[in-house]
Symmetry: C2
Amino acid sequence: GISGQTIKRLPLYLTYLKTRKTDETYVSSTTISEDLRLNPVLVRKDLACVMTGKPKVGFLREDLIAALEEYLGYNRLDSAIIVGAGKLGRALLDYPGFDAYGIEVIAAFDISGDDRTSARPVLGIDKLDDIVKRMHIKIAILTVPAPNAQDVAKSLEASGIEAILNFAPVHLSLGESVIVKNVNLATELAGLAKSLAEAKEKSNE
Amino acid sequence: GISGQTIKRLPLYLTYLKTRKTDETYVSSTTISEDLRLNPVLVRKDLACVMTGKPKVGFLREDLIAALEEYLGYNRLDSAIIVGAGKLGRALLDYPGFDAYGIEVIAAFDISGDDRTSARPVLGIDKLDDIVKRMHIKIAILTVPAPNAQDVAKSLEASGIEAILNFAPVHLSLGESVIVKNVNLATELAGLAKSLAEAKEKSNE
Ligand SMILES: NC(=O)c1ccc[n+]([C@@H]2O[C@H](COP(=O)([O-])OP(=O)(O)OC[C@H]3O[C@@H](n4cnc5c(N)ncnc54)[C@H](O)[C@@H]3O)[C@@H](O)[C@H]2O)c1
Ligand SMILES: NC(=O)c1ccc[n+]([C@@H]2O[C@H](COP(=O)([O-])OP(=O)(O)OC[C@H]3O[C@@H](n4cnc5c(N)ncnc54)[C@H](O)[C@@H]3O)[C@@H](O)[C@H]2O)c1
């Protein structure tokens, strides 16, 4: 598998690729090794773990950036946070059902600060921005009171959240880069009541 | 509209119709008034509020029973109870969204007994059977821990519940007369994660 040393160098390549000014669409491991003053054989081996380049040409710069980000977990689509650790938020924090879908609930955040009563951590909301950015978390479950939902959602967007499962009974107004899915358990209950009414009608025929 | 006196008499007619031994499919207001020793004009006027009979023949007995039950709210399809007033149960108890669908959450029940912290009542589970039967409640929301769900569901069935919105992550094994709808919020979250993954794929093309 990949070595610990390679893992340490990959973020260097990524930062380099994202920050260097260039019009070139291709970049070679040789160029990277020269600019970063690393052994070219080492760089070539490192990058080979992440992506296959074209002989003589190297890598399509955008593709190499994407591959490095993917490799380093920048697109963490299997992690979620809960925002608003009240009754509903804590019920979801304790619910084991998410694991079966390959989604890990990392932590819940609340304006009332840290506490240790749940199996998974509840942290103060002031820690959210740092954690979301460091861990590249993209998905949030929103369970704050309705009056606070829009403001909280806006700050989640600013922190880099790209998908919100919204339980608050308000329409969220966010930029195009955020997918919002609204959950209303009343529709589930209404559907059940309807099925019961239909079953009763049928039995009366 | 209907008079208070009529409302008082309707349950009498219903009990009479349900308990009297007869092979006749039709029953007239005259027969009812004779057996109950009431003024026949009074009985005819009362029943006219509930259903239109056939001249000379009277009422189809089963239809009159159904009409009286309907009128007296025996088919309460717009009321629900919550069973298990923990984190999730209380979040649902406080949620105002059910009213918009015309469903009233009457109360929550819990093994830990009565308490007055929520806007709507939380009552001890020992009170459930009596309330469900008196108020003819048909719909229950099940939010007890997974190990207890099957037993609690069985006792709900015995109390007359005919539809369960089940949040516990277990398959409920009940008789044919109970409709079960399982809710798994993990599928909602997984759906959102999938939408995000697809949006990312699209933007990489
Ligand atoms: N969609 C549905 O079917 C459904 C069902 C039940 C509840 N809800 C909704 O879910 C939300 C939560 O319900 P609940 O019963 O758990 O409420 P709650 O009051 O028990 O919990 C809300 C939590 O959010 C925290 N909070 C408030 N402002 C915050 C902020 N700015 N940042 C971070 N945390 C903050 C509070 O400290 C509290 O812990 C409500 O909007 C409610 O209407 C929706
Ligand atoms: N479907 C989903 O997406 C989803 C999400 C979250 C939680 N859940 C499930 O919902 C259930 C409740 O979760 P929670 O976090 O609110 O749990 P909780 O432990 O906070 O609440 C459970 C409540 O049920 C009560 N109870 C236990 N046995 C009882 C009995 N025999 N009769 C009446 N009440 C009884 C307890 O006293 C407690 O108040 C659990 O089964 C959980 O797995 C499902």
